[in-house]
């Protein structure tokens, strides 16, 4: 033994000796080794997703929405992603006023010009046209022991009458041999609202086209906290629970929405000061506290994937809603088919009125309060049924086509006299089509 060198007889003999000794031990000759490190796999290429969505409501809004998202995983397992969505909306949207047996004249949001709604028709503002650009950035940062990570997000959105800026941070921790994930998140959003022609003074009467008193720009901010648990129940089952609370302050009113004032006996629209009919600009509270509870179960059923979720939301406006959402994915070798059903039901806000009486209008005009006839805050139920087909393109990239049908039915909160012969809150039907491609 060479005592000067306490190290091994470091030469290639070691490997030869070892190979022959192992041959004796195992009594076999082996086919050698072929291994290589595939680190390129770890620091991935930029992955790109493109999607095009089309949305068409019967007789109302149409939207065309192309989107592109890119994402890259780095060697330290951090993930950086960006997404750009472009939204083009055209068509007409309900202005809040009720259908009547008379022709109705309204002033455009800009205050100059009018539009007319035929008798027995739902008043729609046909100037509805908007484009929106939304940009988001996400950074997923793994922490020391890979059991913890933080996801940072930033978001900016711009429309011609609305700008929004937001940020978020979510901390996640894996416990219990990664069978449990706890998450806690915080986000904020700051919105600047610049209604066309200025924000109308809430609860004042819509006047004939021409100069009128308007307020300027408005703003709103929101903070939200989210707590979640994801639990692996068994090899095939995953459960998720979330609770979120969002507090917002500022201008929540929709500057373009009005409410019809009608005679409480006849149901006929009351005469206006300068228009034929009397319509009040809506008014919503300056603050909103919204809570949500969410539960989801996802299960692998011999290769197929089923998931079902339930969400309950409630706020201090009196709105409460339930959403049940179910997907089932039939997995085949290179394609899948995924039917989808969603049912949504909502209880109206305390200050929702399909229309109000002259007495109520006088009361609101003198002592203030909140009021809206926006069907989105009324009592409603909506059903979505859809089908998604996912497949690999001949080049081996993922692709999917989704087709959905949406039907919404609402219930009027107040019906006076002749209004009973009108469809005050007509159904909304929409078709949604989306194409996705990843490479």
């Amino acid at each position: 033994m060479n005592n000067q060198n306490r190290k091994l007889k470091s030469n290639k003999d070691i490997r030869k000796i070892l190979t022959s000794a192992t041959g004796c031990l195992l009594g076999v000759t082996t086919a050698g080794v072929q291994a290589e490190s595939d680190t390129a796999n770890l620091e991935g290429e930029w992955k790109t997703d493109i999607a095009v969505l089309g949305y068409t409501e019967t007789d109302r809004v149409s939207a065309f929405e192309p989107a592109i998202a890119i994402k890259k995983t780095f060697e330290d397992e951090s993930v950086l992603g960006f997404k750009l969505v472009f939204d083009a909306l055209t068509g007409a949207s309900a202005n809040g006023a009720s259908a009547t047996g008379e022709v109705q004249t309204f002033t455009r949001p800009s205050g100059s010009g009018t539009y007319i709604t035929g008798k027995d028709e739902t008043p729609l503002d046909d100037t509805f046209r908007d484009t929106r650009i939304n940009f988001t950035a996400n950074y997923e940062q793994p922490l020391s022991d890979r059991l913890e990570k933080i996801v940072w997000g930033a978001n900016i959105s711009n429309e011609f009458d609305f700008t929004s800026f937001g940020g978020s941070g979510t901390f996640m921790r894996d416990l219990n041999q990664r069978n449990t994930t706890l998450s806690a998140g915080f986000s904020f959003e700051i919105d600047a609202i610049k209604p066309v022609g200025g924000a109308p003074v809430a609860l004042t009467e819509m006047q004939a086209a021409g100069p009128s008193t308007r307020e300027g720009e408005k703003s709103r901010n929101m903070v939200e906290m989210l707590l979640g648990v994801t639990q692996v129940v068994d090899r095939n089952t995953l459960m998720q629970f979330n609770y979120g609370v969002a507090v917002s302050n500022g201008y929540h009113t929709d500057a373009y929405k009005i409410v019809s004032v009608v005679d409480e006996v006849t149901g006929v629209v009351a005469p206006g000061e300068s228009l034929d009919g009397k319509y009040l600009y809506e008014s919503r509270p300056d603050g909103r506290i919204k809570h949500s509870l969410f539960a989801k179960v996802k299960r692998n059923i011999s290769g197929d994937v089923a998931d079902a979720s339930y969400r309950f939301m409630w706020d201090d406006w009196g709105v409460a809603s339930s959403t049940i959402d179910m997907h089932y994915r039939f997995n085949q070798k290179s394609w899948y088919l995924e039917p989808h059903v969603r049912y949504y039901s909502q209880q109206a806000a305390d200050f929702y009125h399909t229309s109000i009486t002259t007495t109520q209008a006088t009361l609101l005009e003198t002592s203030g309060g909140d009021l809206t006839a926006d069907y989105r805050l009324g009592e409603m139920a909506a059903t979505t049924i859809g089908l998604k087909l996912g497949f690999l393109t001949p080049g081996g990239n993922k692709s999917s086509i989704r087709l959905e049908y949406y039907n919404q039915t609402s219930r009027a909160s107040d019906v006076y006299g002749a209004q009973s012969s009108q469809d005050l809150v007509p159904d909304v039907d929409a078709v949604i089509m989306q194409y996705n491609y990843s490479f």
Binding site: M1, N2, R6, K7, L8, K9, S10, N11, K12, D13, I14, R15, I17, L18, T19, A21, T22, C24, L25, L26, G27, V28, T30, A31, G32, V33, Q34, A35, E36, S37, D38, T39, N41, L42, E75, D76, E77, S144, R146, R235, S302, G303
Partner: protein, 297 residues
């Protein structure tokens, strides 16, 4: 049967799972016949349990117990134990005594539980006279061990079991080659590429801020030595569980983890352990051996 091992369908075959040798064990197979899959898993499971029973230091009725309690008497080893004994001597000679199957008794002094409790020099010195394979008289198949010395095949047992389990599983299949990969807690071997001639993709876990990696393995084995979970930490000094049998002290400056690719799991395991025993010289050692390897500091 269901209690012994589990078999699950995967996209291209089946995976069998069980626990043996304090490790989660996996048998990955690319085949469509569930009955054959069950036979292969059963063969591997039986072999792993047989080896565990025979060489475990925690069973007081097995061969290992008999060897370690021979009180200086000569005992005769069976063929398999003799082969392992030969192999242990080869490794001892080849490493100038650094790889020593009699060094296990140092565990009485060193408890590698992540704590800051170090043994005293006296505790260690008391054990050194009972370490050194050259003190064992081995005239195949007769073994004579001095009183108070102990043998521990823990340093090669798991890798040996991985290779043996692959052999046993392959013996069950007489037809066309079925792609199999056997993985006992990160020490693994395959019998060739997967069904579509693609390599097996094996992840190497990152330790202590090191980088993880994905290895494409077409043929052969991977084994990892490391102290990711077994070490002591005192005054910011990390004491590795890789001990120098001649001083009774840990090898300092060893990497956190060394993974080596070789034809068999036994070879890969030995090379990774020998590299760790080189301390700061581990990278140079591996480079000289011309083996495919991954080192995490």
């Amino acid at each position: 049967m269901a209690d012994l091992y589990k078999i699950d369908k995967t996209e291209h075959g089946f995976t069998g799972r069980f626990d043996a040798m304090a490790s989660p064990c996996e048998i990955l197979m690319d085949l469509h016949d569930p009955l054959l899959a069950q036979q292969l898993v059963h063969a591997a499971y039986s072999e792993a349990k047989r080896i565990e029973q025979k060489f475990s230091r925690y069973i007081n009725t097995n061969l290992m117990f008999k060897m370690n309690n021979s009180q200086g008497e000569t005992i005769t080893l069976d063929e398999e134990s003799s082969l392992l004994m030969d192999f242990a001597f080869t490794c001892y000679d080849m490493s100038d005594g650094f790889f020593d199957v009699t060094s296990g008794i140092l565990r009485r002094a060193w408890k590698f539980d992540g704590s800051d409790t170090l043994p005293s020099d006296i505790q260690i010195k008391e054990l050194l006279p009972f370490i050194g394979l050259q003190k064992v008289i081995w005239k195949k198949p007769d073994l004579t061990m001095p009183i108070n010395m102990e043998l521990d095949f823990g340093g090669i047992g798991k890798e040996y079991a991985v290779d043996r389990c692959l052999q046993k599983a392959m013996e069950k299949n007489t037809g066309k080659r079925i792609p199999i990969l056997i993985n006992f807690g990160g020490d693994l071997v395959c019998n060739g590429p997967r069904f579509n001639q693609q390599p097996w993709q094996v992840g190497i876990e990152s330790v202590g801020g090191g980088h993880s990696a994905v290895v494409s393995l077409r043929q052969g084995a991977l084994a990892t030595s490391g102290d990711a979970r077994r070490f002591l930490l005192k005054d910011d000094v990390r004491y590795s569980h890789i001990l120098n049998p001649q001083t009774g002290h840990p090898i300092m400056d060893a990497p956190r983890s060394v993974t080596v690719a070789a034809a068999t799991c036994v070879e890969a395991g030995l090379l990774s352990t020998l590299a760790m025993l080189q301390g700061s010289g581990s990278k140079a050692f591996l480079a000289e051996q011309e083996v495919v390897h991954w080192v995490q500091d």
